[in-house]
């Protein structure tokens, strides 16, 4: 099944029946110069063919409803189907973004409630739901920082990011017109405080931090870090990708963060969709509030809601309309389903599952070849180093990952974070059962045993997948990124 849709069908075939022309036909409405001469060569295909093509394509995907997906930093937790049902209600799904707010009170109330809930989870009072994803939220956050400093007559030039930071952090810094300054990591897996002290000065606009960070380590110096950062008048930014570890347990606002982004498609279970849609709301402290993107939702004394576009200090708009409302519906449904207790329980179980898996790997001796990179305990995820495995068994983390495919598991995030040699970043999430964690640990042990006998098995894996290892170098050297027609 490797034909593309453009290689199927036949001239004249179609699924769509165009409504009949019901108005008097008029010629020459569109001057020839503006007209397209040749129609785009889109597929010509019947509906049955169309359905079969994409149904069969779907079967060439691994997915969360089919198996364990411990992709670190991505929080691949179960996506309840209720959320799809409520998001599809016409009152949500067919609501036009420019509908008169007086006739969209349900949507505005939903967004208002979601803002309040996110503010409570973050421990920061003001929320904008507008950003389209985490990295979009980061951009919003750094631009807010810029507006904040500018408003106080300052032109700062640098943003600090630890070497554990996700790639979107430094990329965002550049996009926002700042210089990236890297911070080292200490022996505990936290920020190197001395390095921070050395680099924190009045030219620094912001420190972007993930806590727990991408090592799954909660930085126990967080208070001191906040003190240093605020001491030089910079803002402290919280990358919320790992919020799933601390919901109802510890709040970024209480840790001293000024700006937080959420990934609704992670902690709040918006389905990942093969790479989106996502949603990256931000929560901020009072002093950042004036700069929030517009419009903001307001609530009148009579309980009615409105959109306020008159925000003189606002950084403006990051995108069209009010953000990814469809994602808001799902995450709001999630929050209402779980409630205060449920959210806390989710984080507790996420952390429990991660630590249980660490313990299983220790018990099975896997840890000898794949030691925990830092510490003994972890939060909701943890990082193993494949260096001993590579040295002693002659298989790389990549080989291990590919061999896991034959065991029916999605591999963890690999080769990230960068500071860990041959890294595996594993996040089980709270929606997995103990049986699944045991089976995954057993699979890792089995692969190591197998490699001890014969490393070539893993090196040539996978064997049971729709395709085997693909030539990525060739793909990049002579890119074929569209179907030649």
């Amino acid at each position: 099944m490797t034909q593309t849709i453009f290689e199927k069908g036949a001239p004249g075939r179609r699924a769509f029946t165009c409504p009949a022309l019901d108005v008097p036909e008029v010629d020459g409405l569109l001057p020839g110069a503006l007209r397209r001469s040749e129609p785009p060569r889109l597929p010509e295909i019947s509906e049955p063919e169309l359905v079969r093509h994409y149904v069969n394509l779907s079967k060439r995907n691994f997915d969360l409803d089919s198996g364990f997906y411990p992709l670190g930093s991505c929080t691949m937790k179960h996506n309840p189907r209720l959320h799809e049902r409520v998001a599809a209600l016409p009152g949500h799904a067919r609501l036009h973004p420019l509908q008169d707010p007086a006739r969209a009170q349900g949507a505005l109330e939903l967004m208002w409630n979601l803002e309040r809930a996110l503010a409570e989870v973050a421990g920061l009072p003001h929320v904008s739901l507008q950003p389209s994803a985490g990295s979009h939220g980061e951009l919003a956050g750094v631009l807010l920082t810029k507006a904040f400093h500018a408003d106080h007559g300052e032109q700062r030039t640098k943003v600090l990011t630890p070497d554990t930071a996700h790639g979107t952090n430094p990329a965002t810094v550049t996009m926002a017109g700042y210089e990236v300054v890297k911070l080292g990591t200490n022996a505990d897996g936290g920020v190197d405080i001395d390095d921070l002290r050395a680099k924190a000065d009045e030219t620094v606009a912001c420190l972007m931090l993930t806590n727990p960070n991408t090592l799954g380590i909660f930085d126990h110096n967080i208070e001191e870090i906040a003190e240093i950062v605020h001491g030089v008048g910079a803002t402290l930014y919280y990358d919320g990708a790992n919020l799933n570890a601390v919901m109802g347990i510890s709040r970024p606002g209480d840790m001293g963060f000024d700006i937080v982004h959420f990934n609704l498609h992670k902690s709040f279970t918006q389905p990942h969709g093969g790479g989106g849609p996502g949603s990256g709301p931000i929560a901020v402290a009072d002093r950042i509030d004036p700069y929030l993107p517009r419009p903001v939702i307001t609530r009148a004394a009579d309980g009615s809601f409105d959109l306020d576009d008159e925000r003189p200090k606002s950084i403006g708009k990051l995108r069209g309309f009010q953000g990814n409302y469809g994602c808001f519906v799902r995450s709001y449904a999630y929050i209402r389903s779980l409630g205060a207790e449920g959210l806390k329980d989710a984080s507790e179980t996420a952390v429990l599952n991660a630590n249980y898996l660490v313990a299983r790997l220790r018990a099975l001796g896997v840890a000898d070849k794949l030691p925990l990179a830092f510490g003994e305990l972890c939060m909701h995820e943890f990082v193993l180093s494949g260096a001993p495995m590579k040295r002693e068994l002659q298989i790389r983390t990549l080989d291990l990952a590919k061999r896991l495919l034959d065991h029916g598991f999605h591999p963890p995030t690999v080769y990230f974070p960068l500071l860990v040699d041959e890294a595996l970043l594993i996040e089980p999430t709270e929606t997995e059962t103990r049986e699944t964690l045991d089976a995954f640990a057993e699979a890792l042990a089995e692969i190591l045993r197998e490699a001890a006998d014969d490393p070539s098995v893993a090196r040539n894996a996978p064997y049971t997948t729709p395709v085997r290892r693909l030539d990525e170098a060739a793909a990049a050297k002579r890119p074929v990124i569209r179907q030649p027609l």
Partner: protein, 445 residues
């Protein structure tokens, strides 16, 4: 499980990792959880407090449009295999998603007549800003020239982003509904990093995009066009008009209105910009057995590899919405898209005639229109709209919300869902509303 871990309680797990001072010592102040049926009832009650396109006869567009979404799309997007995985980092088990990206890129490339397309960006307006950022990285020039025919939200997003990386934004006004050619030419110089227009523009007018592009020919500017994909079945495509980068809002391609999102933005370009594209790109290759396969390619552009040197910070994009897009384009098909374009062309003309026949309603411009048009009301537009909505018809968008220069302008949009009978109904209701408002005005005068 605690025993295996070697801790005596859950609390110990956290006490040993999180300083007490930053632990939340109380329950979150949120309502208690609810059974599924109650959450459904609550979300449904909220939905019922919205007036959706299912509840009124709507001609509201202005960037998002009430096209019919075929049922196959619900089914396919609902399949776990498309709905629940993440970005295809492991190509061996992600061929479905990767091939979809490849097919999507091909469809967008065909639509735009440009050789390069990425696998989606967030949505339309931010795609315009992303195109300007590409120009900044490409030529480093200080200024962007943007037509006021570009969606107001896109211009706003451009300004917001430009304030960060540093572009001055210069706007060029409209004249009889299209970009003022003279002002456009004079605005473009050797410091111009990008020029940006929309097709059709925000007033629904079809621009002479070839001329707009031509004007930038002797400048370093990257020529950027923002397109509504639906009329591209009948409108000359960017690739034939000297456009370097074509972007646009993909909602109209099989995506729901969803009060504004999620949808997707498309981003296409000439070969020159291949290695400067933001976002994911899927490419064709072979596996070790020589089998055809697809992978994410040219990743050296991206944040997870290049970090601060990346062409963009985008990571999670809109894969599922882009899937809807390519399924929609395949469902409509080569001939269908042309028929759809012609149908909208005719109905839009009919609607413009019908409305401008009402007294108190005049065409705001006389340019060709393909799915949306602007009129001027000799009555307070907001009140007219309210009257129409009370009669079950949403006549469109009040241009005054974003354009002082078009105070009582009304932007009216068509889709294949709006029949002649419904257009006639609009004319009737709008006529009555305008008359009533002029009455009261007359009286109060």
């Amino acid at each position: 499980m605690l025993a295996e871990i070697g801790v005596s309680s859950l609390d110990e797990l956290f006490d040993r990792q999180i300083p007490a001072a930053v632990r939340l010592q109380r329950p979150l102040d949120l309502p208690a959880g609810m059974p599924e049926q109650d959450v459904y009832a609550h979300l449904r009650a909220l939905a019922q407090r919205n007036t959706s396109a299912e509840d009124e006869l709507t001609f509201l567009g202005a960037g998002m449009y009430d096209h019919y979404v075929p049922a196959v799309i619900d089914m396919l997007l609902g399949r776990s295999e498309f709905l629940t995985p993440y970005t295809p980092y492991q190509p061996e088990i992600s061929q479905g998603g990767l091939q979809v990206m490849f097919e999507y890129q091909t469809a967008i490339s065909e639509l735009t007549a440009l050789p390069v397309s990425n696998a989606s960006v967030y949505e339309g307006p931010s795609a315009v800003a992303a195109a300007a950022y590409l120009a900044k990285l490409a030529n480093g020039k200080p200024r962007v020239v943007v037509s006021r025919g570009v969606h107001p939200h896109a211009r706003a997003a451009l300004r917001t982003l430009a304030a960060g990386y540093g572009h001055d934004v210069v706007e060029v006004g409209l004249r009889d509904g299209v970009t003022d050619a003279a002002a456009w030419e004079t605005a473009i110089d050797q410091d111009t990093s990008a020029v940006i227009f929309a097709q059709p523009n925000f007033l629904g007018a079809v621009e002479d995009t070839a001329a707009l592009a031509e004007a930038a020919k002797n400048s370093p500017a990257v020529v950027v066009g923002s397109y509504d994909p639906i009329p591209l079945g009948i409108l000359k495509p960017p690739g034939e008009c000297g456009v370097d980068v074509a972007v646009g809002e993909g909602q109209t391609l099989g995506n729901r209105l969803d009060f504004g999102g999620p949808s997707f933005g498309f981003f296409a370009a000439t070969d020159a910009y291949l290695r400067r594209m933001p976002g994911r790109i899927a490419g064709e290759t072979r596996d070790v057995d020589g089998k055809r396969g697809f992978v994410l390619t040219l990743q050296t552009r991206e944040q997870h590899i290049r970090r601060e040197k990346a062409t963009s910070n985008i990571c999670t994009a809109q894969a599922l919405n882009a899937l809807a897009g390519v399924v929609y384009l395949s469902w409509v098909g080569r001939r269908g898209l042309v028929e759809l374009g012609e149908l909208l062309l005719q109905r839009t003309h009919y609607a413009r005639e019908a409305l401008t026949a009402i007294d108190g309603v005049e065409a705001l411009h006389s340019q060709p229109v393909v799915r949306e048009f602007a009129v001027h009301l000799n009555a307070p537009v907001q009140r007219v709209i309210a009257r129409c909505q009370d009669a079950g018809v949403n006549p469109g968008y009040a241009l005054g919300r974003e354009y002082d220069e078009y105070g009582d302008g009304l932007l009216v949009a068509l889709t294949e869902r709006r029949s002649k009978a419904e257009i006639d109904r609009l004319a009737e209701v709008l006529g009555a509303a305008v008359a009533a408002e002029r009455e009261t005005a007359g009286v109060s005068a």
